[in-house]
Symmetry: C2
Subunit: 397 residues, 2 copies
């Protein structure tokens, strides 16, 4: 009598959550310092001090009723102006507040886009490895998620398979760069190739194929690598953003969607986004944090900590003989599993209280995700464990 689909989705915890809960229980027994938990993507770097200062300043100086009041569904006008100005300055775009819709975080941004776009029978294509909740959101909106297998050489796009899977029912393509779980950033070359296929196929099928850019890790990029801003390459792009990672505010649920003026039927598209947010029950993005992120629009948490962690862990693993595409962003490493069955490999790691997530859930078997948004000390202490594990498999550095 209950919705069987919701029952199923609510009963089956994600693999990541299960491993995380296991880690919490083990920590109670053997002590937190003896658990090497790399399961969850919860930023360990605190929000910048400007977040605290912004909250204090707002509480001190603004009208107490206005601070916590409803905003327009699309977000507070001043907040939207400030944020678009910051985006324009940083990425050379020219958005106005009318192009921005504030949301209750990245999951909201994506699920609103799916809801706004989906008609019965629509397909959405994503590229493995991919964030597993996409399936849940696409199906919730009434669409179908189509997965293109990974290009395991470098985790750029597997274009051969993409060309086979794109078809007349394709409503949109979702990309996530910097990528969770591979940490890879799509190169400009990849983007240009993707865009040329989207344009060709849109023309062939006689309807727009949208590009949804899910980019909560945009600011977490290393080695001065550029993260192409996709609206500059393809006008029918919706940008989904969240401050969860850049400002370390994952619990506060605050983000936005960019709808460029150049998009096909801009006014209607913006309206459909508003409709999606309304139907799903979001009302407005949390009001205090709208004001906070506007005040901190040009800031990030201390990203250098993640970069140090990446270097330590990547260099360490490579030296031991692990095989891994070097990630240029986000806070994940996605090495090959030391046996074909990544789940079995993770079980072996677990015996050392080393908690990794098998790539299967990300649509990429034979790999494991290591979330290195942890204390650097944990990385240092875990290296001998990774080495023991490698030796168990007869791999010698």
């Amino acid at each position: 009598m209950l919705s069987q689909k919701m029952l199923e989705l609510g009963s089956k915890k994600s693999t990541i959550r299960e491993i995380f809960e296991f880690g919490k229980k083990r920590a109670e027994i053997v002590g937190k310092e003896n658990i090497y938990d790399f399961s969850i993507g919860n930023p360990n770097v605190p929000a910048p001090v400007s977040v605290k200062n912004a909250i204090l300043e707002i509480l001190e100086n603004e009208n107490p009723t206005a601070i916590h009041s409803y905003t327009s569904a699309q977000g507070d006008d001043n907040v939207r102006s400030t944020i678009t100005k910051s985006i324009n300055k940083r990425f050379g775009t020219s958005f106005k507040k009318e192009n921005l819709y504030m949301t209750v975080g990245a999951a909201a941004s994506i699920s609103i886009c799916f809801k706004a776009l989906t008609n019965e029978g629509d397909e959405f294509i994503t590229f493995a490895p991919f964030f597993p909740e996409y399936k849940c959101f696409v199906e919730g909106a009434g669409g179908k998620l189509i997965i293109v297998d990974a290009n395991t050489q470098n985790f750029q796009i597997n274009f051969d398979e993409f060309k086979k899977k794109i078809n007349d029912k394709t409503k949109a393509v979702i990309v996530n760069s910097p990528n969770n779980p591979s940490g890879v950033i799509y190169s400009e070359e990849t983007i240009l190739k993707l865009v040329s296929i989207l344009e060709e196929k849109s023309a062939e099928y006689g309807h727009v194929i949208y590009l949804i850019s899910d980019e909560p890790y945009r600011e977490i990029a290393y080695d001065n690598v550029d993260v192409p801003y996709l609206t500059k390459y393809y006008k029918n792009t919706l940008v989904c953003y969240s401050y969860s990672k850049s400002l370390s505010l994952p619990g506060e649920r605050i983000g936005y969607i960019i709808i460029p003026s150049e998009i096909e039927d801009f006014k209607d598209t913006y309206a459909a986004i508003c409709g999606g947010g309304r139907v799903l029950g979001f009302v407005n993005a949390p009001s205090l944090f709208q004001k906070v992120v506007a005040k901190c629009a040009d800031e990030t948490a201390d990203i250098s900590i993640y970069e140090r962690n990446r270097n330590l862990l990547y260099d360490g693993l490579i030296k031991m003989g692990y095989k891994c595409v070097k990630p240029e962003g986000a806070f994940y490493l996605f090495p090959q599993s030391l046996e074909k069955d990544a789940k079995a490999f993770c079980e072996k790691a677990k015996r050392y209280d080393l908690l990794l997530v098998p790539g299967d859930d990300f649509g990429c078997p034979g790999h494991v995700r290591i979330s290195y948004c942890v204390q650097t000390e944990q990385i240092i202490n875990s290296l001998p464990i990774f080495e023991k594990l490698a030796k168990e498999y007869g791999i010698n550095s």
Copy 2:
């Protein structure tokens, strides 16, 4: 190519929003003090000072990473314990944290319930006058909203029509007491009668008919009138709550759902609620405000201001010859329109910059909603306008 339904829902502003926007524009021309805007249910009473203190205390004393971190999807454990204890103390219930699921506000609470319960073809019954967004949420979840006409005598339930409309496809009944827009509180007699029908029909049809209690106005009740706590009358009740009104935090989007242990298939129901929240993209209720409302769980904003407003406005209108059921809660008055067509009446009122909402959108033509969550001064200044309007219709006090 866009979802036509979302486009429609996003293009057509609610009547309330339209009137509200009109008022803002007029205020720019003739001055805010000359606009008698009773259109919107945005609390004018500030949050209690304990909210500010709670925020400051959390920022000062808690781990900065933990404050803004993801919580479990169902909410922080300590928060859920604290809130259930407060509910138990105030309403004589015996909930545990396992019965509570924190949400991103009332709209989220309701839309999650609909999503968790709905299978193809399901009907949900509500009683006019009713909150118009219900239709949007029910249809978004794939169900159909069935409206029982108002009992305009006293705005309790029209049981004759309810008995005609309940049927084998009825999945749940939604009540909203204290009611928006009538301000009426369902009496214990009404609840007992409702429950007896639900029990009889559940047995007859061989399946549960759920009761969804949407109660953001629970604490806004006057004259010591009791607001029955529905889980004590009917075990298959889901309680949807929000702190928008009680703590004047409408923009922060924070509330909860109560799933009583006695509900049919408790474990599965709780899981389906988790599935609903997951699919819609809520992730978790805003983390800082989870902690804030837990610290303020026993508090409310200064409700006495609303009571004073109600008395002034109700007494004033009755003296002038308006006809109105006396509201015992919420912050709305729902008098009869002075002509049959409430929309025409509201247009006449608008000429005096007196902004009222026709009852048609609430499923109750011939009435108008007056939101009196405004400065008391506005009420005092508006009374001569209400009087002029009455005289225009030849009504003499």
